[in-house]
């Protein structure tokens, strides 16, 4: 639509491209720095000489991690949590969103249920009562403490309700004409055409389960049962934070603790996200726009 660009316009274009590229690079620079440290020689990393490229390249920290049975165990617990929690979330999100997406004339109590669901999202009893309830259910220290309290991802239910409401009624009516009951309509009509939205909410819950650390920290008392993010939080983040007391302390702690190992642990815990990220990206932009910005 624009024919030719004048020279000042072209310069402005290049300035813009450079600024955007710079912003994007700044965005991942800290991550690259961390990766570089993880592949560097211990001494170079401790001395703070590593920037964006490994100094004296070394796999040592990764070979050590693989032999660290606690780290690997936590990794597996996190995978188990993602699989189990993701499946429960998927099932319950779909089962709640479908009835709630119906109009009032099709499902009289719809609005009452919807308000209860929204209310649970907006108001909570707070940390202590929540903790006491879970404590009394005797599921602490088990995987169930990590997957059951968040079994219904309310925000995702609302996203999916909004998506289901955009499905043309005629599709459902055609099914009902043929004598289909709501279960059949949901499974055979709604689910197949909702793949982008379902993929979006599923990926959100998988990422949320992988990234959660707090519930692991307070609901799991036995450190050998920690999911990965809790393990990292306790072993890497918390200890490195207390090492900030004075420059002398930093020197001392650096000598004992291992910068490259910590960096490598962070990298490994990022890997699953980086693996699914390219697949997610295709869907989530589309999915979010469909679910949240209407009209």
């Amino acid at each position: 639509m624009v024919k030719t660009r004048s020279i000042p316009n072209k310069i402005a274009d290049y300035v813009l491209l450079t600024l955007l590229a710079l912003a994007a690079m700044l965005c991942i620079a800290p991550i690259i720095n961390n990766v570089a440290i993880s592949f560097s020689d211990k001494a170079a990393a401790a001395a703070g000489n590593v920037y964006f490229w490994p100094v004296k390249f070394s796999w040592a920290s990764y070979t050590t991690i693989i032999q660290d049975s606690q780290f690997m165990k936590s990794f597996l617990i996190s995978l188990e949590r993602v699989a189990l929690g993701g499946a429960i979330n998927f099932l319950l999100t779909v089962l709640m969103a479908y009835p709630l997406s119906k109009e009032k004339r099709d499902f009289g109590q719809r609005n009452a249920f919807m308000w209860i669901v929204v209310f649970t999202m907006l108001f909570s009893g707070g940390l202590i009562p929540w903790y006491i309830v879970i404590y009394n259910l005797h599921i602490m220290n088990t995987i169930w403490a990590l997957v059951l309290p968040g079994a219904v991802p309310v925000f995702n239910v609302i996203l999916l309700v909004n998506f289901f409401r955009s499905v043309p009624r005629e599709l459902e009516e055609a099914g009902v004409m043929d004598g289909a009951n709501p279960w059949y309509v949901l499974l055979k009509i709604y689910l197949p055409i909702s793949v982008p939205a379902l993929a979006t909410v599923t990926l959100f819950t998988l990422v949320a389960h992988w990234n959660a650390f707090f519930d692991g920290m307070i609901l799991i008392n036995d450190p050998s049962k920690y999911p990965l993010q809790t393990y990292i939080q306790q072993m890497v983040v918390q200890t490195s934070n207390f090492s900030l007391l004075s420059p002398d302390d930093v020197q001392r702690v650096n000598a004992i603790s291992n910068k490259t190992m910590n960096a490598a642990k962070i990298v490994v815990s990022m890997v699953p996200i980086l693996v699914v990220y390219p697949f997610m990206q295709r869907y989530f932009v589309h999915g979010i726009v469909l679910g949240s910005v209407k009209g």
Partner: protein, 296 residues
């Protein structure tokens, strides 16, 4: 007649989810009575002594509580403002780019941090702002003395805001980019006909076209004034920066689960829940009235 039969199936579908909602969301709401008790876990909720508003009175007398409340509001407000401005500017800039591959690559990169946990991000943040980290190395290159950033009450809040923007601005950009695709292309054609430069198109077509979305996001962010970000603060702070960094959620965690003052912690949490709830309801009402927005 048909409707009634269908309702039966809808109840079937809702039951499992509602069982979980009741157990893990509704039942804990009754637990707020702990805020009015001298709660002793061994005695339980029913046998613990009822003390009325004593926990609240005590809370208001504590020197910490005022500080914590102010920290929360200040940090959250700074984050809300930065979190509104940066994504809008970034989306406007990205919208000017005509090279599709370049636009896509930039988006891919800036969305990424949103998907990493605050545990991972904090591990990285603490490293780069460490005394011997890359930020101090860069400052040293400019001839500036190294600083203990993570132990500095002066720097802690700016770092919270900066790293929050780092993690989330790319993702918020999606909403504005989506809103831009909704702007009627004939408006641009008309503007070009009238001889508008790209800068004028930006100010007279794109920005007005975005104003509803910007306004909506501003209203909705109101509800977050007491949410300063537990995961982030919890992973980044340490006792040295409690005076500027301790927020309501971290305070509830420490008084409740670490110091085991259950009644006090529940009272603080309840106050936060109630104020937040009121703010969210107000912001949703405003959004519905002025921007025609509904949650469902």
């Amino acid at each position: 007649m048909k409707t009634r039969r269908n309702s039966f199936y809808y109840y079937q579908m809702l039951i499992p989810g509602f069982i979980f909602l009741i157990i893990f969301h509704i039942v804990p709401m009754f637990g707020i009575v702990i805020a009015f008790e001298k709660f002793i876990p061994a005695k339980g909720i029913f046998a613990s002594k009822w003390i009325g508003f004593d926990n609240f009175t005590y809370m208001f007398q504590l020197p910490d509580s005022r500080q914590v409340f102010m920290n929360t509001v200040i940090i959250a407000t700074m984050k809300i403002i930065a979190g509104l401005i940066v994504p809008v500017i970034f989306a406007l800039a990205l919208n000017e780019v005509r090279l599709t591959w370049f636009k896509k690559s930039i988006q891919t990169i800036v969305y990424l941090p949103h998907f990493l946990s605050w545990v991972i991000m904090s591990g990285i943040v603490i490293n780069i702002f460490a005394y011997d980290g890359i930020v101090n190395a860069f400052l040293g290159f400019l001839g500036i003395q190294p600083t203990m950033f993570m132990a500095s009450n002066f720097w802690f809040r700016p770092i919270l805001v900066l790293t929050d923007v780092w993690k989330e601005f790319g993702f918020s950009t999606i909403i504005y980019l989506a809103a831009m695709t909704g702007i009627n292309p004939t408006l641009y054609e008309a503007a070009i006909m009238d001889g508008a430069s790209r800068r004028r198109q930006l100010f007279h077509v794109t920005l007005p076209g975005l104003s509803t979305t910007i306004f909506l996001m501003t209203i909705l962010s109101l509800g977050n004034v007491l949410n300063a970000g537990f995961d982030q603060v919890f992973n980044l702070y340490n006792p040295l920066v409690y005076s500027t960094g301790d927020i309501l959620d971290t305070y509830v965690f420490r008084t409740g689960l670490v110091d085991m003052q259950y009644g006090l912690a529940t009272a603080v949490g309840l106050l936060k829940s109630v104020i937040s709830f009121i703010l969210i309801v107000i912001s949703y009402k405003l959004a519905e009235k002025f921007a025609n927005y509904r949650i469902f």
